[in-house]
C-alpha cells in the first residue's frame, strides 16, 4: 500500500533519485545532459521547459519507454536502469503513467481500460480471458467513482469526452497502486476548465495516496497553481529546481529565454491571479 512507505522516507533511500541521467538519440541529438533530481517526499513535481528541452525524454527514461544512455534511476533504492526485462516489467508495475492523448484502447470499455492497469500482476492466460481478482474489480469500481466516472464502466472509451478519457487514464494508472506517477502533458489536449479540474484531481490524489508525481507541462500558470515544486529544463539540463512559489521572472528567462513575462492586460482574462485557486 502506498501509505506504507511514507514512513520509509525517514530511511536511507529517497522515493526517487535520478543521478546523471543522460540520453543521446541514435541521430546524435543530446536530449538529456546529466540530470540529477531527488524526490524525498510525496509531492507534485512539475517539469517545465520549451519544446525540445527534453521534458518528454526525461519522463520516458524513468520507466524506460526511452532507453537512457547513461545514469542511474533509483526508485526506492532500486536502480531501474540496471534491470533486465523481467525486472523492468516488475518496476513498471510500480510506476503509473498518464499520457497527453490519454492512450486508451478505444474499442474497449472503460472498465477494461482501467483493469489493464493490473496487467503486470495477472498471468497472461487469465488476463486474455479477462479474469481479474475480485479485489481488482472492486478497486476499479471504487477508482472510477473517485475520479468521477461512477456508472460509466460499460461505456466504450471512444464514446467519452477528452476530460473523461483522461480520468479513465488516471484511474488506469492508479490501478497499479504505483509508488510513482508520471504524467506526460496530461492537460495539453484539454480545454482550460477541464485542464484545471484534472490538475486539481491529480493534486488531491497525490495527497490522498501519498504518491509522488512528476508532471510534464508547458502551461506555466497551471504548474504554478498546482505543483509543489517546479523543475525547469533547458537543452536537457536542469536550470531551475525549487518550490513553485520561487519561480520568478528571472527563473523563467533562465528556462525559456528572454521574453516579457508580465501578464498581458486583456479583458477576457478573468483569472489573473492563479494563486489561491488551490483546492
Amino acid at each position: 500500500m502506498s501509505q506504507g512507505f511514507h514512513a520509509a522516507t525517514g530511511g536511507a533511500s529517497p522515493l526517487l533519485a535520478v543521478e546523471g541521467l543522460t540520453k543521446v538519440y541514435p541521430t546524435g541529438k543530446r536530449a538529456l545532459g546529466g540530470i540529477d533530481v531527488v524526490i524525498d517526499r510525496p509531492q507534485l513535481v512539475a517539469v517545465i521547459g520549451s519544446s525540445g528541452a527534453g521534458k518528454s525524454t526525461f519522463i520516458r527514461c524513468i520507466n524506460r519507454l526511452v532507453e537512457p544512455t547513461a545514469g542511474r534511476i533509483l526508485l526506492n533504492g532500486e536502480d531501474i536502469v540496471a534491470l533486465d526485462r523481467k525486472g523492468l516489467r516488475a518496476a513498471r508495475r510500480r510506476i503509473g503513467m498518464i499520457f497527453q492523448e490519454y492512450n486508451l484502447v478505444e474499442r474497449l470499455s472503460v472498465m477494461q481500460n482501467v483493469l489493464s492497469g493490473r496487467l503486470g500482476y495477472v498471468g497472461l492466460i487469465a488476463s486474455l480471458r479477462w479474469r481479474f481478482p475480485l479485489e481488482d474489480i472492486q478497486a476499479a469500481f471504487a477508482l472510477l467513482d473517485r475520479v468521477g466516472l461512477d456508472g460509466y464502466h460499460n461505456q466504450r472509451a471512444d464514446a467519452l469526452s477528452g476530460g473523461q478519457r483522461q480520468r479513465v487514464g488516471i484511474a488506469r494508472a492508479l490501478m497499479q497502486r504505483p509508488d510513482l506517477l508520471l504524467l506526460d502533458e496530461p492537460t495539453a489536449s484539454l480545454d482550460p476548465k477541464t485542464s484545471r479540474q484534472i490538475m486539481r484531481l491529480v493534486r488531491e490524489l497525490v495527497a490522498e495516496r501519498q504518491t509522488p508525481a512528476i508532471i510534464n507541462i508547458h502551461d506555466v500558470a497551471l504548474a504554478r497553481a498546482y505543483a509543489d515544486r517546479i523543475i525547469g529544463l533547458r537543452d536537457g539540463i536542469v536550470v531551475f529546481d525549487a518550490e513553485a512559489s520561487a519561480l520568478t521572472e528571472a527563473a523563467l528567462t533562465e528556462i525559456y529565454g528572454a521574453e516579457d513575462w508580465a501578464p498581458a492586460p486583456s479583458e477576457d482574462d478573468d483569472e489573473p491571479a492563479l494563486i489561491g485557486m488551490r483546492p
Binding site: 479485489e135 481488482d136 472492486q138 478497486a139 469500481f141 467513482d145 497502486r177 488531491e204 495516496r209
Partner: protein
C-alpha cells in the same frame, strides 16, 4: 478485501458497495461467441474430413521437399537464353490483353452504370457481362480460348482481355456512378445529345480511374500470364510446365527466378506510374 479499497483521507466518502463481479461479456454475448466458434470448428472439421487427406504423405514431405531443393540447386543458368523469348511473349500477352480489355471495358462500363445506361434491360446486360467476365478465372478463360484458337499466345491475349474487361469496367462504372450529377445536368441543359454528355461531362472525370485501374490490372496480368502456358495459352508457363513434368528442376528454378524478376519489376513500375498519375 477492504485493504485494497482506496480510502481517501480527509474527504469522507459515503460507504457504498461496489458490484462484486464484473464480466467482460454478457451471457448472450458469450453464447453468440460460442456459437460462432462452434460453427467455425464444424466448418473446419467438415472441410478437412471430407477431403480425405492421406496423412502418410505428410510423413515424408519434408524429405521430398529437401530432395526437390537439392535437385534445383545449382540453377542451370545456361538455360537462361532459351527463356528470354518466352518471357517477352509473356509481357506481350499481358500488355496486348490489357489494351484490348480497355477498348471493350469503356462501353461495358457505360452500360453497367445506372446513370448512363439506356434502360433497365441494357443495365442488366452490362451487369451480366461484368459478372461473367469477373467470375471466371483468367486460366479458365485460357482453356476456353485454346479450344477456339488452338494453343498459342492469341488464346492467352484473349483470356487476359476477357478477364480484365470485367475488372476494369466494374471500377470505371463505379466511378461513373459517382460523377457529380450537377455537371451532367449543366451539360444536358445546354441541349447536348446523350453521347456528347458522355464525352464532355463524364469521360474526363472518370479518366484517372480508367488509367489507374488499367495500369493496376496490367501488373496483375503479368502475374496471370506467367501461368497461362499451363493450359497452352502461350508465355513462359509452357516451358515451366514442361520442365517440371520432365523433372528438370534446375531448369525450373531458372524460370521461377525469371518470373520473380518480371513480376516484381512490373509491380514496382505499376506502383510508380500510378503514384505519378494520382
Amino acid at each position: 478485501m477492504t485493504v485494497h479499497q482506496p480510502e481517501p483521507r480527509g474527504t469522507p466518502v459515503p460507504a457504498r458497495l461496489y458490484p462484486d463481479s464484473w464480466e467482460r461479456y454478457s451471457f448472450k454475448e458469450r453464447l453468440v461467441h460460442w456459437l460462432w466458434l462452434g460453427g467455425i470448428a464444424f466448418a473446419a472439421a467438415w472441410s478437412v474430413s471430407a477431403l480425405d487427406i492421406e496423412w502418410a504423405f505428410f510423413a515424408d514431405a519434408h524429405e521430398q521437399a529437401a530432395d526437390l531443393i537439392a535437385r534445383m540447386w545449382p540453377p542451370r543458368w545456361s538455360y537462361f537464353p532459351r527463356i528470354i523469348q518466352p518471357l517477352i511473349e509473356t509481357l506481350h500477352i499481358a500488355t496486348l490483353g490489357t489494351m484490348i480489355a480497355v477498348l471493350f471495358a469503356l462501353p461495358v462500363a457505360f452500360l453497367a452504370a445506372r446513370n448512363t445506361t439506356l434502360n433497365q434491360g441494357t443495365w442488366l446486360i452490362g451487369r451480366a457481362m461484368l459478372v461473367l467476365s469477373r467470375s471466371i478465372n483468367t486460366v479458365i478463360w485460357g482453356l476456353l480460348f485454346v479450344a477456339i484458337f488452338g494453343p498459342g499466345p492469341v488464346a492467352g491475349i484473349c483470356a487476359v482481355a476477357a478477364r480484365s474487361v470485367g475488372f476494369i469496367a466494374k471500377l470505371v462504372a463505379e466511378a461513373i456512378e459517382e460523377v457529380d450529377a450537377g455537371q451532367i445536368e449543366a451539360v444536358e441543359a445546354s441541349g447536348a445529345r446523350t453521347f456528347q454528355v458522355y464525352a464532355v461531362a463524364i469521360l474526363p472525370q472518370t479518366l484517372p480511374v480508367l488509367i489507374g485501374t488499367t495500369i493496376y490490372r496490367w501488373d496483375i496480368n503479368v502475374r496471370e500470364s506467367s501461368v497461362l502456358g499451363f493450359v497452352g495459352a502461350g508465355g513462359i508457363g509452357l516451358l515451366l510446365y514442361a520442365s517440371i513434368n520432365q523433372f528438370a528442376w534446375s531448369q525450373a528454378i531458372v524460370i521461377l527466378i525469371a518470373i520473380l524478376g518480371i513480376v516484381i519489376i512490373s509491380e514496382a513500375l505499376s506502383a510508380y506510374v500510378r503514384s505519378r498519375i494520382v
